[in-house]
């Protein structure tokens, strides 16, 4: 019988763990929706908070593991070094919030929640080192604590841009592969992120300057 490839062994493990990954997503999404419900209830008409979740797909998990190796190739002599459980985003939830004041509120509520207090913070930064979004990784002990889950709290404008940009830049086919490394495209992406951040800051300043005190509203 021919020797099985590392990719096939990892695929088998992925599907062994899939029920656990799905439970982790379910739990993370439920807890985050519950914790952010008071914010959701108090949003005014222009404010938004959306919770999205996803289970990392099998081939995406393999691609991420493989990309950590030089030459994007698994070493058959180190098969035992590779594990699906090394990935930190098998179960993922993203909280998209607008504007920034609400984002900080949501981020703080989640950080202060006891089960999330020990989760590791790993913020997403732009090329200049400016923090764009919060990311946290951790485990749910009640479910065996094997699957690492991730949640992000992201400015909605940037998060929605990333949804389009990510599938265009990181999952292209044929000629467009590698476009994410193109310096011009990277500069343009940084420019878009910076513009969206400035738009949000200026929007909040405008609202603050022009809002009426509660007693003057009618």
């Amino acid at each position: 019988m021919p020797e099985r490839k590392i990719e096939d062994l990892l695929r088998e493990k992925y599907f062994d763990y899939l029920p656990e990954i799905c439970r982790a997503v379910w739990q993370l999404e439920t807890e985050i929706r519950h914790l952010t419900l008071p914010i959701k209830r108090s949003l005014v008409h222009y404010e938004q908070l959306v919770v999205k979740s996803r289970v990392k797909e099998c081939e995406s998990a393999l691609k991420t593991l493989r990309s950590k190796e030089e030459g994007n190739t698994f070493d058959p002599e180190k098969a035992e070094h590779y594990s699906i459980l090394n990935l930190r985003d098998l179960a993922g939830v993203r909280v998209l919030v607008f504007p920034r004041g609400r984002l900080l509120e949501a981020d703080q509520i989640l950080r202060e929640y006891e089960p999330f207090k020990n989760w590791n913070s790993d913020p997403i930064k732009d090329a200049g080192g400016t923090e764009l979004a919060s990311t946290y990784h951790g485990f749910f002990q009640e479910d065996g604590g094997k699957v690492c889950a991730e949640y992000q709290v992201v400015p909605m404008l940037i998060g929605l841009f990333w949804e389009v940009e990510h599938s265009a830049m990181y999952k292209p086919i044929g000629w467009a592969k590698g476009i994410e490394n193109d310096p011009e495209m990277r500069n343009l992406r940084t420019g878009v992120e910076s513009s969206l951040s400035h738009f949000e800051e200026e929007f909040e300043r405008f609202v603050k300057r022009n809002s009426l005190p509660p007693s003057a509203e009618f």
Binding site: S67, E70, G71, N72, T73, D75, P76, E77, G178, P183
Partner: protein, 83 residues
Amino acid sequence: MHWGAKMKKKDMLWEADYRYNFDRDLFVNRVARKAFSLEFVDDKPEEEIRLRIGENTNGNGWMFYFNSPPSEGVKRELESVLG
């Protein structure tokens, strides 16, 4: 590393008929039977890349320029992919 320096090394490889293999993140020249990993190109100075491009390998199979030398298993896998 500065983008300009990075791009200069990539231009140098392109001019020496190396093409980028997006699946493996390698710069490959099938005639010279040489492959440079993206990490190697990013980390090494321009002069070293130039030397390696010109290095005589006597055509004895593939030569892989990696930061960490690839194992025999990785070489076999890459040789089967690169042809």
